[in-house]
């Protein structure tokens, strides 16, 4: 019953969020601000994480496949596909759910408990639309760029790691990267990351928007936003993979 209640309330919130905005110019300005705050603010940490992740995946794959019957080219191939298919989209989204999800829920929750949202409602502003819609559009538009950067940095991380181990040469790694490349896998990753962006912003906004109480509840809403976003991302990942790759 409680789940149905939340689904119904989420649907009702999204109906308000996706309503026609009162002022398109304001929406555009707010969306650009959110792009800066949400996406550009987290790009550096994503780059750091993906660089080391790419390096570690390459080293581990190289060590595990150090067999005279397996070509070293496979290491570059495996690293590329791991990064393109999963790490750049799913892992990046899980990280962003942690960074952005709690940020969104706390920001909106604070606005709720300090009556800023009530103030907008009283003025006749559709507060859900004004506060949430720019965040959804901003991350939806920025996510493909973040994922492309994550892919690139991850592969560079793998490339850098070839200088630290004896089992793999730079030439083998580069040959592996080009082996059996399919652009469809990149599209698949970009499509699913855009859906994950919607999950992160919508779920986190929902948890922040209905906070009641004080600072403690805002903190709890932030935690709930991250947990539910991650669970839904992983479930959606399975569904999209079944749909697009099998």
């Amino acid at each position: 019953m409680k789940m149905l209640y939340h689904i119904g309330r989420f649907g009702s919130l999204m109906k308000k969020v996706l309503a026609r905005p009162e002022n398109h110019k304001t929406l555009i300005i707010q969306t650009f601000k959110e792009m800066d705050k949400l996406a550009l603010g987290s790009i550096v940490i994503i780059m750091i994480i993906m660089f080391f992740m790419g390096a570690v995946v390459t080293i581990q794959t190289a060590l595990n496949l150090s067999n005279p019957f397996v070509s070293n080219v496979i290491v570059g191939f495996a690293t590329r596909d791991s990064i393109i298919l999963e790490f750049s989209s799913t892992v990046t989204s899980v990280i962003l759910a942690g960074i952005i999800g709690s940020n969104i829920a706390s920001e909106i929750g604070n606005m709720r408990i300090s009556e800023q949202i009530d103030a907008m409602d009283i003025m006749g502003v559709n507060s859900a639309n004004y506060v949430i819609l720019p965040k959804i559009i901003a991350l939806f538009l920025m996510m493909p760029f973040i994922v492309i950067i994550a892919m690139t940095v991850g592969i560079i991380g793998g490339l850098a790691s070839t200088f630290t181990i004896d089992q793999l040469t730079l030439q083998d790694y580069l040959s592996g990267l080009q082996l059996d490349f399919s652009a469809y896998r990149v599209y698949y990753s970009l499509i699913k990351s855009s859906i994950f962006a919607l999950i992160i912003t919508m779920v986190s906004s929902y948890h922040g928007f209905y906070v009641s109480g004080g600072a403690l509840e805002v903190g709890k809403a932030g935690t709930r936003a991250v947990i539910y976003s991650i669970i839904l991302i992983l479930m959606a990942n399975l569904f999209i993979t079944q749909l697009m790759l099998t």
Binding site: N23, T26, S114, D118, I122, M123, N126, Y130
Partner: protein, 251 residues
């Protein structure tokens, strides 16, 4: 004018507002007073439509808020200005942006016209040279004045203030009270102030409703308060020795 008729509101099994009737008169500072937990803030939030009511009518110049459709309610709200207890200023916006917010949302004024209106509103609440400061950089009294400036930006017909003096020193409280009264007179606004500050009652109370246990226990003006024989109201108003001595002196 706002007429409230037979207003009832319950939370779970607890009745918070019980058959409340009150007329909020235009051009006057109407006050709702009562102890903490008596239902004042619920009453205000019900009147502005933030809390749905169980039964009753809230007539804004004949338009029943409880029966308005979403779009009609949004339109009505553009005629309402509200000052919240904590100010409810947008933290990430400057003083000027806060006041300009309703103008950006609902008007097609040019940049220059908007700036003129913002300056006019800030001048009316005696705020100068703070346009580019953030709410966290100004005092509580200034935050309340900025909130009032934002509330009057769209020339509202109705102004609601939820405990505008809470957390302010007595001198600043008087400034805020006088500001609210002056704006009410100057723009002929229908103003409702929720308070438990007896200084405000004595300063600006022209039409006062005393709420007790969710009911409108007493209605009158600030002069009638001193002569009332209503036991509960007397207990609330003359709780302090200061007001007891004022009554003695008056009598």
């Amino acid at each position: 004018m706002i007429e409230i008729r037979n207003l009832n509101k319950r939370f779970a099994n607890k009745s918070v507002l019980n058959d409340v009737n009150f007329t909020i008169e235009q051009g006057k500072t109407n006050l709702v007073i009562g102890q903490s937990g008596s239902g004042k803030s619920v009453f205000l939030k019900a009147v502005v439509g933030l809390h749905p009511v169980d039964s009753g009518e809230i007539l804004y110049d004949g338009r029943d808020l409880t029966k308005l459709k979403r779009k009609e309610l949004q339109d009505l709200r553009k005629e309402i200005g509200m000052v919240f207890q904590g100010g409810a200023l947008f933290n990430s916006s400057t003083v000027e942006e806060n006041v300009r917010f309703p103008l950006d949302m609902f008007t097609k004024l040019s940049k220059v016209e908007k700036q003129k209106r913002v300056d006019f509103c800030l001048e009316h609440v005696n705020i100068e040279k703070s346009n580019h400061l953030f709410p966290s950089e100004i005092s509580g009294g200034m935050q309340k004045r900025v909130a009032i400036a934002r509330a009057i930006a769209l020339n509202p017909k109705y102004l609601f203030c939820d405990e505008p003096n809470s957390g302010l020193d007595p001198k600043t409280s008087i400034v805020i009270d006088q500001l609210i009264q002056n704006l009410t007179k100057e723009f002929n606004i229908t103003t409702l102030v929720i308070t438990h500050d007896m200084n405000s009652v004595m300063e600006i109370g022209e039409n006062i409703m005393f709420v007790f246990q969710g009911q409108n226990w007493w209605v009158g003006d600030r002069n009638q308060i001193f002569n009332t024989e209503n036991e509960e109201l007397n207990g609330f108003v003359f709780a302090s020795e200061l007001f007891q001595s004022v009554r003695k002196a008056k009598n």
